[in-house]
């Protein structure tokens, strides 16, 4: 896991897209939110939303033989809003058709944040999410 910047109000990590790294990135992001003093409910919601976005990258962005499947998680606080970006350089692959047990990730992200934008292009996919930061104790 490569740390690009590390400051109190910035979070920026780029890692190989893998299940283990998605878990580790989620834990690091959760710690960052807690360090900001975010209330427990917001920490829970954003941690889950971010994980679902990372899971989508791991499962859908890259073919199995991709040599450098990267995913990047960026987050910052601006005007008391937590702004989150998850990006990859792969091609979005639609989930295989099945009995319908998967495919809840995007709906969860929408429910857990106040805004979600998904941008797909030949260069990759970018998911942007935001939610108001209501610091505990203020």
């Amino acid at each position: 896991m490569r740390l690009r910047t590390a400051a109190t109000e910035w979070f920026d990590l780029a890692v190989e897209a893998s299940p283990v790294n998605a878990r580790q990135l989620r834990v690091r992001f959760q710690e960052w939110l807690q360090m900001l003093g975010a209330p427990v409910t917001l920490v829970d919601n954003l941690t889950l939303a971010v994980y679902e976005a990372l899971a989508n990258v791991v499962e859908h962005a890259y073919p199995p033989d991709c040599a450098h499947p990267l995913m990047r998680l960026q987050a910052r606080v601006d005007h008391r809003q937590v702004l989150i970006t998850i990006s990859d350089h792969g091609r979005w692959r639609a989930p295989a058709s099945g009995p319908g047990y998967r495919g809840r990730g995007l709906a969860m992200m929408r429910s857990l944040t106040t805004a979600l934008h998904l941008h797909r292009s030949a260069e990759g996919t970018t998911v942007r999410m935001r939610a108001p930061l209501r610091c505990s104790g203020r």
Partner: protein
């Protein structure tokens, strides 16, 4: 009959499964994080219990610290399989984050979820006066 089956802590130290069964039901206690790393392991365990034919499978979520969509999918699929043969999956004592995931996906109205109680759960039933209250809400 009683089984103990823990996941390999070397392979995935962040997740564990313990199975404790009798003739009436199989009790599956989870701990840690149910995500892309661990979901396939749980799927294998539950598939085996489905094949074993227990009338009821209770999955204790009280030790689960994270539940992602991939874990929800495992529960939904197993629930459908068991209902089709008139058997039952019960999700027991989900913590706050798991309850949130179940609620926002609407699965809290599809799956059978039993309420939170105040004591921790083990394979052995508690004894004494507190046990009376704790066991009252425990699935049989």
């Amino acid at each position: 009959m009683m089984d103990d089956l823990w996941s390999d802590p070397v392979r995935d130290p962040g997740f564990g499964v313990q199975v404790c069964s009798n003739a009436q039901r199989s009790w599956v206690s989870l701990r840690g994080e149910l995500d892309l790393v661990s979901a396939s392991h749980l799927r294998q365990v539950l598939a085996q219990l489905c094949r074993d034919g227990y009338p009821k499978i209770v999955v204790d979520l009280s030790g689960l610290e994270f539940l992602g969509a991939v874990g929800l999918a495992v529960f939904h699929q197993v629930d459908d399989q068991l209902r089709a043969v008139d058997r039952q999956l019960i999700l027991y004592r989900p913590r706050r984050l798991a309850r949130r995931a179940l609620a926002i996906t609407g699965l809290d109205t599809v799956l059978t979820i039993q309420p939170v109680t105040t004591r921790s759960l083990t394979c052995n039933r508690p004894r004494g006066r507190k046990a009376l209250l704790a066991n009252r809400n425990r699935p049989q």
